[in-house]
Amino acid sequence: MSDTALSGQKGPTARNMFAALQLDTRLLGMIGAFVVLCLVFNFFTDFRFLTPRNIFNLTIQTVSVAIMATGMVFVIVTRHIDLSVGSVLATVAAIMAVVQTDVLPGILGLGHPAIWILAILAGMAVGIAIGAFQGWMIGYLGIPAFIVTLGGLLVWRNVAWFITSGQTIGPLDETFTMIGGIGGTMGETGSWIFGILAVAAALWLQVASRRRKSSHGFPVKPAWAEVTMGVTTSIAILGFVWILNSYDIPKARLKRIFEASGDTLPDGLTMGYGIPYSVLLLIVVAVVMTVVAQRTRLGRYIFATGGNPDAAELSGINTRFLTVKVFAIMGALSGLAAAVAAARLGFSTNDIGTLDELRVIAAAVIGGTALAGGVGTIYGAILGALIMQSLQSGMAMVGVDAPLQNIVVGTVLVLAVLVDIIYRKRTGD
């Protein structure tokens, strides 16, 4: 009987084939919008937008906001908000700068190899402490997150000012500045090795998941769908590496690098930058945060609390302490972002991270995080940050006036949320 049923069906329809891939249509929509955006900018900038050089710059400009956006997902999913991230970033950047220029050289000696990491650890500790403190006020004292972090916005911005007396602190430690972007990249070989390892990991995860599902007797995707997915992921990863490797280090700079190590630059030699360490950091953060969101109890409780705080409480989840943890994570990520932002500038400035809270919230929201709580993804937030940054720098490249740029960004934010609301209503998601 099942044979007749099967033969009655004349091959899979396009819709069925699409469904078999079990793709996140929302994500596809965002990627589609992003691709269109890039193509439009590419056209209006005489094809300068989609050059390896510009893509390289886009990625390093996105890192700081994207790192914080992953944390903002957790904050918004638990129905809170954090308006203080830009200011916390400033305070942490100031502390990292002071520690590595004033404090540690006095103890360890100038240029000590451990300075950069100690400075980062000190800053991260402060970031975590600030986040946990704000989370404690929200969770245990019951002050709304909006108020606590609005206060934090003022307090930490000016704590940073107070620490540095308003001065720009720098130049920062040379190793430290390597996590800022163009100053520290993995090189072509390193990037290819990373790319291949990443592909191997992605494929292994796919196979392991399929094996686990079939061992429980669950339905699995058809083999062709798995292969399509695997090939697409592999091409995406290796393509990304290829683009970043294609951005060649300028001749003059290459020459200086060779001269610094006592060699001369061989004729005709070119070297690509490869993946910046800051982007590597973002990838690590994204992977860790995704694992936390999907595969740990902490992540499960964050989403459960966002979906129904009472249910979470009645299930024995300590939602107050959970709030502290969520804000502590946000603080830690603000600390990391501070390191990247300061390292990119080479200095800690008084206005570092100004308005970042808005960019971070916008990135998370454009990435599909619902302010009502319970819904949001890490990859969405990172894509959101990338879209925001592309919009901003694309318009700058096209030559759109500064006021118009911000008008467009604001409009896009609101429209993106509107489209998301309509989408969710349609799909009942």
Binding site: H216, A304, N308, L314, S315
Partner: protein, 262 residues
């Protein structure tokens, strides 16, 4: 008769000067269904939330199998094998059935990561027993019907081997067919020796499902009775007037003199 499974003695709790539960004493035996009845605001849900750990009593004593226990949180209640199915279902709408079933007690892999596949497998097993029509294992529970949601909530209680089950209006949001399903389930759990507190507004339900009833009014216990010893009208009189009929054991909230009621 055996020792009661649950004894709640002289329970009191106040909220801002209002005595929500006022010296209430109830008990529950294994394999028994006790119906808690009363108007909205009579204190039934509050009393039950003390047992489930959602509220902490101001005074009173809870004994499980004759031993005094202290329940300060939902976790404490679960440790005593007390499971609660709330009126509001207490499900996280954005998560799927398996995540809800195991919420707070996730199965983890040896490395400590949440093992979604194992939880889904267990969920499929238990749902196959409780509600074989249940198919939406990957949808968030907000996409489920009232009956499907209720079966997730019940599965949660059953899966973790509850000895004491608290059901707060389990059939309030359900259709006829689904109500029947819950009724059958209650009968089956009774056979397995569970004690069940059932909060309900539906007198018909109560007489069909319960062995005994306890009626509350204004935070006080009007009385308790076997369902075989009283009639529908008797019970209505207890709920509305606080009048304790002959077949019932009066509590502190029982109306002493009939003539007071005009």
């Amino acid at each position: 008769m055996d020792a009661p499974l649950v004894e709640m003695k002289d329970m009191c709790i106040s909220f801002g000067g209002v005595r929500a539960v006022d010296h209430v004493t109830v008990d529950l035996y294994p394999g028994e269904v006790v119906g808690l009845l009363g108007h909205n605001g009579a204190g039934k849900s509050t009393l039950i939330k003390i047992l489930s750990g959602a509220y902490k009593a101001d005074s009173g004593e809870i004994r499980i199998n004759g031993k005094e226990v202290h329940i300060h949180s939902p976790r404490d209640a679960r440790a005593q094998n007390i499971e609660t199915i709330y009126q509001t279902l207490a499900l996280a709408d954005n998560l799927d059935a398996a995540s809800n079933l195991f919420l707070g007690r996730e199965l983890t892999s040896p490395l400590g990561f949440v093992d979604d596949d194992a939880m889904e497998a267990e969920t499929r097993k238990i749902m196959g027993r409780l509600n074989p029509n249940f198919k939406k294992f990957h949808a968030p529970v907000k996409a489920l019907s009232g009956g499907q949601r209720q079966s997730v909530a019940i599965a949660r209680a059953v899966y973790f081997n509850a000895k004491i089950l608290i059901m707060d209006e389990p059939t309030a949001a359900l259709g006829v067919h689904e109500t029947q399903m819950v009724a059958e389930l209650i009968q089956e759990l009774k056979k397995q020796g569970l004690g069940i507190f059932l909060i309900s507004h539906d007198i018909h339900d109560v007489f069909q499902l319960c062995d005994r009833i306890a009626v509350m009014k204004n935070g006080q216990l009007v009385g308790t009775a076997k369902t075989t010893d009283v009639t529908d009208d008797d019970v209505l009189g207890m709920i509305i007037l606080g009048k304790c009929p002959d077949g019932a054991i009066p509590g502190p909230g029982a109306l002493v003199d009939d003539s007071v009621v005009g």
